[in-house]
Symmetry: C2
Subunit: 282 residues, 2 copies
């Protein structure tokens, strides 16, 4: 599953070992990565900016919950570069200490969002109480340490493996079309061999009628596919918006041309990074 990046890298994630961000890091950099867990997204960005970690793994959107608030803005403000992407299917397992059975389970802990995504499971098992905790992988770790006030945790297969927990059920999430997309970020833009098919950018168009339409024409006329467009408020400019866009194009030249034309239209434009699409056919 690895891309061209040789391990070991030190890779910062938000959360504990076994988090879905960790799985994303393994997808991109292989299982031998040197993990740097951080508490908050701001801590994660600081770890990469300061050089404490070589790369960071940042969740940017989920197919059920939408955009992860603030993370694209953090990429823009940090000055870091997007050097890769990956998509992880969010599979949630009901995990217990080895030897325990379903009839032993009275309280199951996880992050509130994970609990909410297992609504049907809790409906079918009214004897099990959902217990909200800070972190999905952390709930598995604390279960196995034995000091937690619950007898099951809901987390990833990687967390189960990491902490030696046993799965009673494998896919208890309500909706299996549940994926999270992650960016890999770095202090340096990617310069590896091969073609970069995707470019992520942020742009602000002049505050006048038709300006977004004219900006999108720049891409459309060149056959560049806009795979994502999302708006975000601009602090200090109420009711004006910055757009974050992902472009798919075969040639770097055509992207550069489009950005030059965008600037001619009066748009403020920042490239967050160009990278290989992963998985390539998604």
């Amino acid at each position: 599953m690895n891309q061209a990046h040789p391990a070991p890298f030190s890779v910062a994630i938000q959360g504990e070992a076994g988090a879905f961000s960790h799985e994303a890091g393994v997808n991109l950099f292989g299982p031998d990565l040197d993990l740097v867990p951080t508490r908050t997204f701001d801590d994660l960005f600081s770890a990469v900016v300061s050089g404490e970690a070589d790369r960071g793994i940042v969740p940017v959107e989920n197919t059920l919950a939408g955009s992860v608030p603030g993370n694209l803005q953090r990429v823009l403000e940090s000055g870091l570069h997007v050097v890769g992407e990956t998509r992880v299917r969010i599979r949630l397992l009901l995990l217990v200490e080895p030897g325990r059975q379903l009839s032993d389970v009275r309280r199951a802990a996880s992050h509130p969002v994970a609990l909410q995504q297992c609504f049907q499971f809790f409906r079918e098992h009214p004897e099990i109480e959902p217990v909200p905790v800070y972190d999905t992988a952390g709930s598995v770790r604390d279960l196995m340490i034995g000091s937690a006030g619950y007898d099951a945790a809901i987390g990833s297969a990687l967390a189960a493996e990491k902490y030696g927990a046993q799965a009673l059920f494998h896919e208890i999430e309500d909706d299996h079309l549940n994926f999270t997309r992650f960016f890999a970020i770095s202090r340096e833009a990617e310069r590896g061999p091969g073609k970069f098919s995707k470019t992520s950018l942020a742009f602000v168009v002049p505050h006048e009628p038709g300006s977004l339409h004219r900006a999108l024409a720049v891409f459309s006329e060149r056959g560049i596919d806009l795979t994502k467009l999302e708006s975000s408020p601009i602090r200090g400019r109420p009711w004006e918006y910055r757009f974050f866009a992902d472009l798919r194009a075969d040639s770097a030249g055509v992207v550069e041309d489009s950005l030059a034309e965008l600037a001619d239209l009066g748009a403020e434009c920042h490239v967050l990074g160009s990278y290989r699409e992963w998985p390539p056919d998604a």
Copy 2:
């Protein structure tokens, strides 16, 4: 400040009397409205759908925090109509029981988002501990009941008036360009006199390159101003997006023409409502 709607209406909000949603309701329907407080956004929509309330007030975006997750989707799924909008400046006051002074304050409670927006205030007053609670207006009410474990609350001027609290400071929020935009929703589309300058809609374009650009051309070519465009994931269709758009146009006919052309382009399109812009010059 009232629009054409005669009070009293029964108006559902999420939260307690004195919430910013209550202030938005007063802007739109006058001070004599019959308030229906609800616990969650889902409860608020249910209250309007069931007829328990005549109208609902729904926050949809904030100029610092961005879109309020899920609320446009709730409007779409509920089948309710947007019949008005208003914008409220988020002014946060430090409130105490009458007669108390700043030197009496050790613990100040509010919703976590409100506490976070007063970061500078807490930095300048390290002797005051921020206490996160469920609801901004509720923190003021509980302070005045006297049973709360804190001696100040951070809330709105309306909450202060409602519960008889006294303001020690009036604008302790870090950023004064902090506004929230609210929709008024109703079971019936608005049919009052006068022109409706704004229309909110949801649309999905065919999943092919250039389709969003072609959709926006439909508005741009008619001189319709797109004041807001936001994307939202579509459940069951990973990496496809629904767009929520706000249009400003002088004539209903030109909007109808554009929607007909959008349908011809293969877009799925739902009008959430047409309404007067408020305040008109914002």
